[in-house]
């Protein structure tokens, strides 16, 4: 991000960068940056907190009025209040994950589980008026079936012209995760990302199926599939054995 600031500024556009990883910003030396102590993925802080978000943006934009520089790297002083867990939050009900853990069982359980979350996801839609599901462009049931068939080792063809099957698998996995995390956050609670991630990866059939899918793909001879499955399905912090 700081490198983009350098290029744009050289071309005559004044920039201010939000910095999430301070050492990177210190190395790149952008014209102006505001480091924020927030979780990766939340450069402007807590969702649905316009007052807090506006403080972050204004603190950054005010750096444009400084007369001394470059380089300016300032620190935003306050933590994200939504990073704290909500003890009152409860995820939607899903049956316990299969004990035997076989690929066929996990795939079937994923297909059964998705419709069980429909009510929670409909509630999410009514609360927020939007969804971030849609990279794969398949309806969620079909998206789940596509992932499930990969879990079964079928390697189904790409459902979309111009997009490879491994890429569509990555998008389908992203969509399944988005659907579940939106459904999980529906209702009155304000769960932290850690709470939602713990639920998805530890308690749902989808989480178990994606873990299994990663292992299945890593065992193939398809280098592209191995690259995608190894790096872009299960977050590094959730890969089993790395805690």
């Amino acid at each position: 991000m700081s490198a983009l600031g350098h290029y744009l500024e050289e071309e005559g556009i004044a920039t201010v960068a939000i910095s999430l990883i301070r050492p990177q910003t210190e190395n790149t030396k952008p014209p102006r940056a505001l480091w924020v102590p927030f979780e990766l993925g939340r450069p402007f802080g807590p969702p649905n907190d316009p007052v807090f978000q506006k403080r972050v943006i204004l603190t950054a934009l005010r750096l444009l009025e400084r007369e001394s520089g470059p380089v300016i790297i300032e620190d935003f002083p306050d933590d994200d209040p939504r990073a704290q867990p909500d003890p009152a939050w409860h995820p939607p009900f899903v049956p316990a994950a299969a004990a035997d853990g076989s690929a066929e069982t996990l795939a079937t359980q994923l297909e059964v589980e998705i419709p069980l979350l429909r009510g929670a996801h409909d509630l999410w839609l009514s609360q927020h008026g939007r969804t971030t599901v849609g990279l794969n462009a398949l309806p969620m049931a079909d998206c789940g079936r596509y992932v499930a068939d990969w879990v079964r080792g079928k390697a189904p063809p790409s459902p979309r012209d111009g997009f490879s099957a491994p890429l569509m698998l990555r998008f389908a996995v992203d969509d399944v995760k988005a659907y579940y995390l939106e459904a999980g956050a529906a209702g009155a609670g304000k769960p932290s990302s850690q709470q939602l991630g713990d639920w998805f990866w530890n308690e749902t059939a989808a989480g178990a199926a994606i873990h299994a899918l990663r292992e299945t793909c890593l065992a193939t001879q398809d280098e592209r599939l191995k690259l995608i499955a190894g790096n872009f399905m299960v977050p590094a912090a959730r890969v089993r054995g790395t805690g």
């Binding site: 600031g5 744009l8 050492p23 990177q24 450069p43 943006i57 934009l61 299960v234």
Partner: protein
Amino acid sequence: MTRLTTLPPAQAERLAALECPNFETTPWVTGPALSRRRVAIVSSAGLVVRGENPFRGRDPDYRAIPADTKADELLVSHISINFDRTGFQEDWNVVFPLDRLNELAADGVIGSVAQTHYSFMGATDPVQMEPYARALAGHLKHDQVDAAILSPV
């Protein structure tokens, strides 16, 4: 509450040590007071308008996001899965603070908001992005933009 110390050690080490371009110059563009600036968002979240071409892997180019894009039309196609997406799911301003910029413009704190905003995919090597970033500056100038807020994930 999340700093590098709260990430898994291997991820924190990799992020902190990530190779960054070593620039020989330190550019610096001045401008009018904030209340007269026209502001654009340039994100590196791999944002794409629904139905348009998502980022595939480490594409070095950018996607345009018109200012009249609705929150329901914006998706994240970033290749990395090691950052939180639930904040963006709940409120796009966490990553793409267009509503906040519009409010600041309505209050006269900033001059105006750009007609078009942009997103790169931040896992791409910045050196590969350079020609696209330089071309983007031309589009921003054409839109009279004189301030860009750069938003990572």
